[in-house]
């Protein structure tokens, strides 16, 4: 049994016939071939699969593709705009906010969501917001610094984009 699911992903509309049980993370990765979002745990603990559903970060390993029908999804592939990295992406490079890179897309999508709501978050708020995601490489310190870098350089990057 399949069902028709239509989802706008990173601004492009996709319609696929899929099994009702298909997870959103598998829809994104296997049906659409967008492999930037990762699968890591199945239990909503690690956050490697975080994407935005409409404007909210969700763990795509515990969302059905069918639940995204008629809605929009944003993934890590959409962070770079017109050849210009999002300040969050640049911050992760500048502050060594990643090592193996596996958790990084989820971290960056969550950080972008935070900065859109609070452009100048304190370290404690950054740690709170990222506490639903796991990283085994960095000990989080440089991820926090990366988000701070993005906050401090938001203006430069907006200028570059225009």
């Amino acid at each position: 049994m399949t069902m028709r699911v239509a989802v706008t992903v990173n601004g492009t509309e996709y319609a696929r016939d899929v099994e009702p049980r298909l997870l959103l993370i598998h829809f994104i990765r296997d049906e659409l071939g967008l492999t930037g979002s990762h699968w890591g745990c199945d239990t909503s603990n690690c956050g490697s699969c975080v994407v935005w559903l409409d404007a909210t970060p969700v763990k795509a390993c515990t969302v059905l593709a069918a639940m995204a029908d008629g809605r929009s999804v944003r993934t890590v592939e959409d962070l770079e705009q017109d050849g210009c990295l999002d300040p969050v992406q640049q911050g992760f490079i500048e502050c060594h906010g990643l090592q193996c890179g596996f958790c990084t897309p989820g971290m960056m999508m969550t950080a972008r969501w935070l900065l859109d709501r609070n452009p100048d978050p304190a370290e404690a708020e950054i740690r709170e917001v990222l506490s639903g995601l796991l990283c085994r490489c960095t000990g989080y310190e440089n991820i926090v610094r990366s988000v701070r870098w993005a906050a401090e350089h938001a203006a430069d990057h907006r200028g570059e984009r225009q």
């Binding site: 049980r21 239990t43 690690c46």
Partner: protein, 783 residues
């Protein structure tokens, strides 16, 4: 630009921040099928029958593989890296919960999982042994009857001088003893283990994309196990989502996927889920230790004696050099000047998953450092001496290096007191102690924990260290193109350590090139020279050394070519500022790029130089490197709940010369988080029947951004005298050194209650119980 060593942003980040990395699960081949493993629900059971008819009838299923199928190809068992054998798919009985029983190959992942439900296995459950301390009992169930064993004993291994140690203990003024457990933990990289196997019946070539830290070792093993000639096997290790030792061994699922591809003629992908990762792949530790120290009343530590019961699970799958069945636990003498030392390790089989050496452990130095650093604190407790002061009194002195310890390891270099002093200054140690006294008077539990570690990394001298008979030396190849850019091919495999950046920096430093002009190729056995891979912090000590040496070979070839260009004798040239120039005439200098062009041109070269600058090197390290460090942890404990908050963590690491300090610090950060995880929350526990109680990240807790403080890092630099650039390994230092600092801090906080020890993980429940005077065993379910 001729920047070599120093802070440099990572090259690999450009693809990772765009979501453009290529991990094994991102590999998609035309016609690819998907595998899934059926696992045993029983810790110990005889298999009466396996009925696969219904599964095979599933419309999307292409093959169902059992142990019987594999036995027909002589693949039902595989050798382990410790010289034992492990069932690929169980034929006779299952020996741990989660063991591989059958493998389904189907058109998609979901169908493969569905078909697992259709396989009917009839088990006859057997009594299981889950408690290592019961494994040697006369009435304990025998795990390995396939080897005709009548008990669960694997090996006894000793190190040091028992008689001399006993003598020191007999006449010592003070002795202390403490039982302690280093619980079974798991590396749990965020990317689980997986493979895409593609066997071509036409060419007879097997290509695998696999999550492996050691692609060349895997190729050799696949050849030996599967029976394919080695030149017909290509192992590609693309981007790896963390390894920490989890991705060193070969797992049954890999061989099932290979068999599945050989049977179906199509590529087969298998990626384990998180439960499979935690329950069946290489765990770490599970060392039940008794430590003893002999000392003088003034606090001079004279000898250490250790007995260990090592739980290796159902198969001896510990991955370490052949001659070291207990890994490098022999460095349990730590950082101190002792008169004598002895340890005895007894290893046993249990009905638990196989493994033991993983999780950034430097071949069990993690256990050794925990043992000795906990014991020093126990002695400090007994003698009522400040633990930092006690360490300072006993640390090796700089003039004693190179120092051969009582178990025969020769520490290459160190200035330990300087490093500990720096950590104490950064922490404000004396003030912290005053604050602690004030807080205690007010009923607040603050603890200050100190640890000092010495690591032994960079295996190894090939005469002493091998994996399955293959000496642990690494090859590199360096080519310099006509236009002066270079490509370096290395055998070691990054899992996030940033090799594409740091190895380019080594070449750049040696040849005066820009690191941007050096491409590092790795992770593909068809494109790189042989070497044994990345684990035990060996990349920089071994392949890093090989890289410096091969670059120097290129530099010497460049000197001969430059001499021909300048029409002088090579002896008249000097290397200065990244150029070969005539002595006293810097303007005559030629860069390596200019020389490379000439080396490819029709310039007449002296006899013996055919042209080009390319070189190769195989590096056989003369000794391990011995990084060290001093860590101080400050915790606050809630006496009402037992909850521990890590307030501060000060880490001073000495890993010799730092190629890229930014990356070194990142490595240390990650290891410190590991330490908090192991000390406070991580444990793979079992119930008395052998049921694994940890099947997901809901049960196996990892530290998050909230449990980790903002790390305070310091550095001292004592170069390794035998490494070409003076570097030592650092990837595991913090994982090795930090757990005892955290535990020592928590126990220190509980001083008002007279607590001398409690086993990891120091969960709120365990701390609360310790306060009540009855800490429990953390490896078994609470009964």
């Amino acid at each position: 630009m001729t920047a070599g060593f120093g802070r440099m942003l990572r090259k690999e980040d450009q693809r990772f921040v765009r979501g453009m990395g290529t991990y094994v699960d991102d590999v998609h081949l035309p016609g690819m099928l998907y595998g899934a493993v059926l696992r045993s629900p029983h810790p110990h059971a005889r298999i009466a029958s396996i009925d696969t008819v219904a599964a095979e009838a599933h419309p999307k299923v292409k093959a169902v593989i059992t142990g019987e199928t594999l036995a027909g190809r002589d693949l039902a068992w595989m050798p382990t890296l410790a010289g034992d054998r492990q069932a690929v798919l169980a034929t006779d009985k299952v020996r741990f919960q989660g063991q591989e029983v059958a493998f389904v190959v189907a058109e998609d992942h979901y169908a493969a999982r569905d078909a697992l439900e259709l396989i009917d296995v009839e088990y006859e459950p057997l009594p299981a042994v889950a408690d290592a301390r019961r494994a040697l009992d006369a009435d304990a169930p025998v795990v390995r009857d396939d080897l005709d064993l009548t008990g669960n004993h694997i090996f006894d291994w000793e190190s040091g001088d028992a008689e001399r140690t006993d003598r020191v203990f007999r006449d010592a003024e003070v002795t202390v003893s403490q039982d302690m457990l280093y619980p079974r933990v798991h590396p749990a990289p965020l990317e689980t283990c997986g493979i895409v196997a593609d066997f071509s019946k036409v060419s007879g070539k097997l290509t695998v994309w696999a999550t492996t830290q050691a692609p060349h070792a895997h190729r050799t093993l696949y050849s030996l196990v599967v029976g394919l000639p080695e030149h017909k096997i290509r192992v590609i290790s693309p981007d790896i989502g963390g390894g920490f030792g989890n991705k060193v061994p070969i797992y049954p699922g890999y061989l099932c996927a290979i068999a599945g591809s050989m049977i179906t003629g199509r590529p087969v992908k298998w990626v384990e889920d998180r439960s499979e990762n935690l329950m069946s792949t290489c765990f770490a530790r599970d060392f039940h230790m008794r430590g003893e120290l002999a000392a003088s009343r003034d606090g001079t530590i004279r000898a250490v004696r250790v007995t260990v019961l090592a739980d290796h699970g159902a198969f001896n799958g510990a991955a370490q050099p052949t001659k070291y069945p207990a890994g490098f636990f022999g460095v349990f003498t730590g950082s101190y000047d002792l008169e004598a030392a002895h340890c005895k390790v007894t290893a046993v089989y249990t009905n638990k998953a196989p493994g033991g050496v993983a999780y950034s452990c430097s071949f069990r130095i993690t256990e050794a450092v925990y043992l000795v650093e906990r014991m020093v604190d126990v002695l400090a407790f007994e003698l009522n001496i400040d633990p930092a002061e006690l360490r300072m009194r006993n640390l090796l002195r700089p003039e004693q290096f190179p120092y051969t310890c009582q178990t025969g390891w020769t520490y290459d270099s160190g200035d330990y007191p300087r490093t500990l002093r720096l950590a104490m200054d950064m922490a404000g140690y004396e003030d912290l102690r005053k604050e602690q006294a004030t807080e205690r008077a007010r009923g607040h539990l603050t603890g200050i924990g100190v640890s000092f570690f010495t690591e032994a990394v960079g295996a190894g001298p090939r005469k002493h260290m091998d994996i399955l008979g293959i000496g642990m030396a690494d090859g590199v190849e360096l080519r310099v193109h006509p236009t002066g850019t270079a490509v370096l091919r290395i055998s070691v495999q990054t899992q996030g350590q940033g090799h594409e950046t740091t190895f380019a920096q080594i070449v750049a430093e040696e040849l005066g090139l820009s690191p941007d002009d050096v491409e590092v190729v790795h992770g593909d056995t068809d494109q790189t020279p042989f070497g044994l891979g990345t684990y035990g912090s060996r990349s920089t000590p071994v392949s890093g050394a090989a890289t410096a040496i091969v670059a120097r070979k290129v530099r010497e070839r460049a000197r001969i070519v430059a001499a021909a260009m300048l029409e002088v004798d090579p002896e008249d040239l000097e290397w200065e500022g990244g150029r070969w120039s005539v002595k006293g005439d810097p303007d005559s200098g030629r860069t390596v790029a200019e020389i490379a062009w000439a080396a490819h041109s029709n310039l007449e070269l002296p006899d013996g130089i055919e042209g080009q600058l390319d070189a190769t090197c195989v590096y056989n390290p003369p000794n391990l490197t011995y990084p060290f460090g001093a860590y101080i942890c400050v915790v606050d404990v809630d006496p009402g709940t037992g909850k521990v908050d890590v307030r501060r963590f000060i880490a001073v690491d000495d890993c010799g010369v730092r190629i890229n300090p930014m990356i070194v610090e990142g490595q240390v950060h990650g290891g410190l988080a590991d330490g908090i995880g192991m000390a406070l929350m991580e444990s793979i526990a079992f119930d008395a029947d052998g049921n694994c109680l940890v099947g997901s990240f809901m049960d196996y807790l990892l530290p998050t951004s909230l449990e980790c403080p903002s790390w305070e890092l310091g550095a001292t630099v004592t170069p390794s005298p035998h490494h070409p650039i003076g570097a030592k390994g650092v990837g595991e230092s913090a994982t090795v050194g930090s757990p005892p600092a955290v535990v020592n801090a928590v126990i220190d906080a509980l001083r008002p209650y007279g607590v001398r020890h409690a086993d990891m993980p120091l969960t709120p429940a365990q701390v609360w119980r310790a306060i009540q005077g009855r800490p429990f065993r953390t490896d078994l379910a609470i009964s």
